[in-house]
Amino acid sequence: MTHQFTFLEDVALADAAFEAIGDSPSELFLAATRAVIETMVNPDTVSASWRREMEHQAPDLASLLFDWLSDIVYLKDVHGVVFHEATAVVTEDRPHGGWKARGTLTGELIDAQRHELRADVKAVTKHLYDVRHDDDRWVARVVLDI
């Protein structure tokens, strides 16, 4: 199982864009989550003393990823935390149709002295937003408003 992400240089001049790739929906979510986390902070400088279970449902995978990533931005402001890492398990929600995601987000209360802080993400946007299944991999393009 593998996942990766790349920040895109020529998309959204004033903001941050990335492409996330996974060989399953779960891996795609891990890649995109990691990209959002790394936009805000160097996660290697953050401990895992704060922990939050996350659970989302949506009629399609694109909406699910959008809500999942938006929740990370929300948690950052509400709890005053930056993040270390995340887990994600994404499955088809067979009884109801659609998709669901479950996972855990860990991090720590923000400490500007210790954490290598980066950009304060304002929002996940629908600008050029795309989630697709190419052959045997899942790909998302996401633009974050900075």
Partner: protein
Amino acid sequence: MKLNTDMQVNRIADEIWEIPASEKAGMLVPARIYATKQILASMDSGVFEQVTNVACLPGIRRYALCMPDGHWGYGFPIGGVAAFDPHDGVISPGGVGYDINCGMRLIRTDLTLTDVQPRLEQLMTELFRRVPAGVGSKGFVRLDRLKFEEVMCKGARWCVEQGYGWHEDLSRIEEQGCIPGADPSKVSDRAVERGISQLGTLGSGNHYLEVQVASNDRIFDPQTAAAFGITGQDQIVVMVHCGSRGFGHQVASDYLKVFEKAMRRYGLVVKDQQLACAPFRSPEGQDYFAGMNCAANSAFANRQVITHQVREAFGAVFGRPAESLGMDVVYDVAHNIAKVERYEEGELVVHRKGATRAFGPGRQELPDRYREIGQPVICGGSMETGSYLLVGTDQAMRETFGSTMHGSGRTMSRAQAKKSVRGEQLKQQMAQRGIIVKAVSMSGLAEEAGFAYKNISDVVETVDRAGITKKVAELRPIGNIKG
């Protein structure tokens, strides 16, 4: 001239270019771009696509406009201006942006560079301590839900009532720092949760607090400058650029979702998901307008609390109360907002996204002290190159719904800028040029390097020559605080 578009672009005047309504299916009005030849040629393809998409929105009047600092945004281009008939037109969160009432405030002082230079390091340290910046920063003002609702309704007025400012500050803020029609019941709990502890914080990205110098040789209109309290003689001023923080961001995100559904109900089809909109008079349109006004007022309050902290910092460093340092607000103006304003057609819903209100002389919305002169317009440049104070004109009222540019406009992505320079290296280079930088994030600092932006002087010359605002003074940075 090679442009980043295949569309027909006609020259209307030296600094005005028009894309006819025939160039794209669905355009209801032409699109107009304010730019010199060079600036037009440097504009990315997204500007042409997006400004013509805006021209397709129902109820648009006259033109879809883009200012010379325009670049690719979400839905509207940054630098976009559009006015809609409130009866048959729409309101669009994409025409306001995520950072509702992101804006600029300028504070004058009686201090000179000679007074400040010896204590500049101390002053910047004190400002950095008192004005929180960066990811998830929290302010010193403790609010419960009811008090935060008062902030939403009263804006900067709430701050002055609490002692965070002077009564005379209010007349020097757009809408006196309090837009009517804010309704806290129209904002979500999530928006409140995100914003309740962030009053008085800068945020990150291109937001900043800057100590600047107004030199005699960079004052272009001494009479207007004097009326704005800018006297030159190496006078020290303070500029603040920030908005409504997580509260406004969440209001925008919430209503983009609401509007996606509402569009289906009203049969609205747009060229870009980020142009999601609803009829202004619809329940959804009115709810967004009421929620957006809550965020706009919280942004006025945010800049007011920061002003209070700036005055406290100056008072502490110079050992005198801010009143005796002449620290009056020059003006505070939004550049991400939708407002109902009156023009020759009657009332219109004017959207400005990365564009500044620039009312000319005589408008009743202006305070007495500026009514005969025109509105102060504050445009922030990159942290390395300086910023400008301009004044609104009658021509802006006739041509651009009383609007003008807001800043330099980026030409390089954040990722590219970070590859070109390291934050520590840039900080040292700026120190060698006499600019002290205090930054929470070194990578964030690198992203804001001057070379990532257009030359603000070129952009300012364009609006000056076009006549939609006139130059008053250039303000040179000596100290910068970034998130």
